[in-house]
């Protein structure tokens, strides 16, 4: 996706490449013209049209809420079907006349009106059915439109409605593990992959995140798990997904980097929050089984994704350490709370240092930055929760300073080593 500053950056880069002789100067104008021609034409129109469509659908819903009595039921039904058919007809007309953008906007309106009509029929006939079922039908209708018309707006609507459906189903009571959502999600993910739709990828990951979090929390509630078990399991799951993303990157999945970044961020959040809850219970075999399985998956996928060439010396021990820590933490009731806090803080900092080295090795700025941020947050947390006296603060700042300098030295060495390896590679004719 081209950002507003893309052309500016391109011009700067082109000037540098021309100065270095990488690009012939006479090609500059043609490259700029091509880039300008391929800028998104409808960015503002797209936002306005989508807002218009949502506004129309909201208006239709308000119309229902008014429950107007002047029109008989048959009149209401006629309006309802006319609106649905009209928006489909408009979509067909626009698409066949070569205006796919407006065609898909009209299709989105039809998708939204389908849900409005379900609610309207519910109102007309006083049907107070299981509400998530209605949302599910709505989401399936949107998905069908996305499949048949290869429509990104319809797919986005399907993904959002799918999340609403699963959250309502799980939080509404009665459903402990809403596995029925998984096939639906898988189809949306396949469609997104087929369309190579970058914004859709974020929706795919976020919808899976919501599903996984809500279902883990409900399962935890049902099986009487504590917060430590819930956070521990989520941390290991995200670690497994991070490893999986590495493996998917190896086989050329185009969104592997994005998935890896999401997984890393969520894993760090879970792992960080874990230390804030108190371990309070004994062994739960279901939890142990699920966590152990996720941990084994995390390690296996890591080995699969990082072949001997890319597997760093600390990758395997670090992954295993996170899994063991997340599994052991909920059972650490016998250990003194202060000692446990220190042990955990040390481990968390070690993990952030490993991630920094990992980021430097793979030249991944995101991993380095998020690891640095996590390091800072952890240090701040230790400061807030452990120290209070002036002497304590002094000890903290001196220790923190030494750690930071050591860290800088460590990263500097890593960077130098990386530079030397690259230089050797060039000298040896390696790519």
């Amino acid at each position: 996706m081209r950002l507003p500053g893309y052309l500016g950056r391109l011009k700067t880069d082109l000037d540098r490449w021309i100065a270095k002789g990488l690009v012939p100067a006479e090609n500059r104008a043609a490259i700029i013209a091509d880039a300008e021609a391929h800028q998104p034409q409808h960015s503002l129109s797209a936002i306005l049209v989508i807002l218009g469509v949502i506004s129309l659908a909201a208006g239709a819903m308000a119309f229902i809420a008014a429950n107007w009595t002047v029109i008989p039921k048959i009149g209401k039904l006629a309006i309802m079907f006319a609106a649905l058919w009209g928006s489909f007809a408009l979509a067909a007309m626009q698409i066949t006349r070569g205006h796919p953008f407006f065609g898909h906007a009209a299709l989105l309106l039809a998708v939204l009106l389908f849900g409005v009509n379900i609610m309207l029929i519910g109102q007309i006939y006083h049907i107070d059915a299981h509400f998530p079922d209605g949302v599910m039908i709505w989401a399936l209708g949107a998905l069908l439109a996305a499949i048949l018309m290869n429509s990104q707006p319809a797919l986005a609507a399907a993904m959002i409605l799918g999340v609403v459906w699963t959250v309502m189903e799980v939080t509404g009571g009665g459903t402990v593990f809403h596995w029925v959502y998984l096939p639906f999600w898988a189809v949306t993910a396949l469609l997104q992959h087929k369309q190579r739709w970058k914004a859709g990828f974020h929706l795919v990951v976020l919808s899976a995140t919501v599903w996984m979090t809500v279902n883990t929390a409900t399962l935890a509630d049902y099986l009487n798990w504590g917060s430590a078990e819930t956070l521990g399991l989520l941390t290991i799951k995200w670690l497994a997904i991070w490893s999986m993303a590495r493996a998917m990157g190896e086989i050329g999945y185009p969104f592997a980097t994005g998935l890896q970044r999401y997984a890393l961020a969520f894993m760090l959040v879970g792992f960080f929050l874990l230390q804030m809850v108190t371990p309070e219970r004994g062994i739960d075999y279901i939890w142990l089984g699920l966590s152990g399985l996720s941990g084994v998956l995390a390690v296996l996928l890591l080995l699969l994704g990082m072949s001997g060439r890319t597997l760093g010396i600390a990758d395997l021990p670090a992954t295993i350490a996170i899994v063991i820590a997340a599994i052991a933490y909920p059972f650490a009731t016998a250990i003194d709370t202060a000692l446990l806090g220190w042990l955990y803080a040390g481990l968390f900092i070690a993990v952030t240092i490993w991630l920094m080295s990992n980021g430097v090795r793979f030249r991944d700025g995101f991993t380095v930055n998020i690891a640095l941020a996590a390091f800072g947050v952890q240090v701040f947390y230790v400061y807030v929760s452990t120290f209070g006296t002036l002497l304590g603060n002094a000890a903290f700042f001196i220790t923190g300073g030494i750690i930071l300098i050591a860290l800088a030295f460590f990263i500097g060495r890593l960077s130098r080593r990386l530079g030397e390896e690259r230089a050797r590679g060039k000298a040896g004719g390696a790519p």
Binding site: T69, K73, I74, A92, F114, G174
Partner: protein
């Protein structure tokens, strides 16, 4: 397959679904067994919310003592069937049995389909313990808990309800046990009657 044909498929499928909703409602409305239910608002202030009425029935909360059942316990969200029989004195129907499966209903009785919204399955371990057998209760939703009213008429109905008895006539499907609202009665008199297209 061109775009128009694909859109036609979408139109057809969605129209069939929506028309099916209406048709199925019509079938139950016209062929279902009429059942008269007494309403029991829990909190009069919450009785009318916006422009629809929240209806709570006597059978929305079932005290399982004295009710025949084939299940040890019920869970939240479970689909159940409640056997209703008319009261000889006032004609209102009351719950006689609860089952996880819809069996054959005796004459002058009907199985109404519902979903457990909350199940209290506590059985006392001590004679005077906190979990007495009397606490075995089910809260059930039947899909007939909302009645949409014309804008601004909710308060009038509420006043009427304060003075007289409010009853709901429900049509219960012979095939599925699903109930749909057929009429609203105030003191035995029909004030709203539901048709399919009027």
């Amino acid at each position: 397959m061109n775009a128009t044909l694909r859109i036609l498929i979408l139109v057809l499928l969605k129209t069939v679904f929506l028309a099916g909703m209406i048709a199925w409602h019509g079938v139950v409305l016209h062929t279902g067994t009429p059942v008269l239910l007494r309403t029991e608002p829990l909190d009069p202030r919450d009785f009318f919310r916006g422009d629809y009425v929240i209806l709570t029935y006597e059978i929305s909360r079932i005290d399982m003592n004295g009710i025949a059942t084939d299940a040890e316990r019920f869970r939240d969200g479970q689909r159940i069937y409640v056997l209703l029989e008319p009261d000889a004195e006032d004609g209102y129907w009351t719950a006689r049995a609860v089952s996880a499966k819809r069996g054959r209903a005796p004459e002058d009785a009907v199985w109404l389909r519902g979903r457990v919204t909350h199940a209290l399955n506590h059985v006392a371990r001590e004679p005077d313990g906190p979990h007495a057998p009397a606490q075995r209760r089910l809260w059930v939703a039947y899909g007939i808990e909302s009645y949409f009213v014309p804008e601004g008429t909710g308060r009038d109905l509420e006043d009427l309800r304060e003075q007289q008895r409010l009853g709901i006539e429900v049509a219960v499907s012979h095939l599925t046990g699903r109930g749909v609202i057929r009429a609203v009665l105030i003191d035995g008199e029909r004030v709203y009657e539901e048709g399919l297209l009027r």
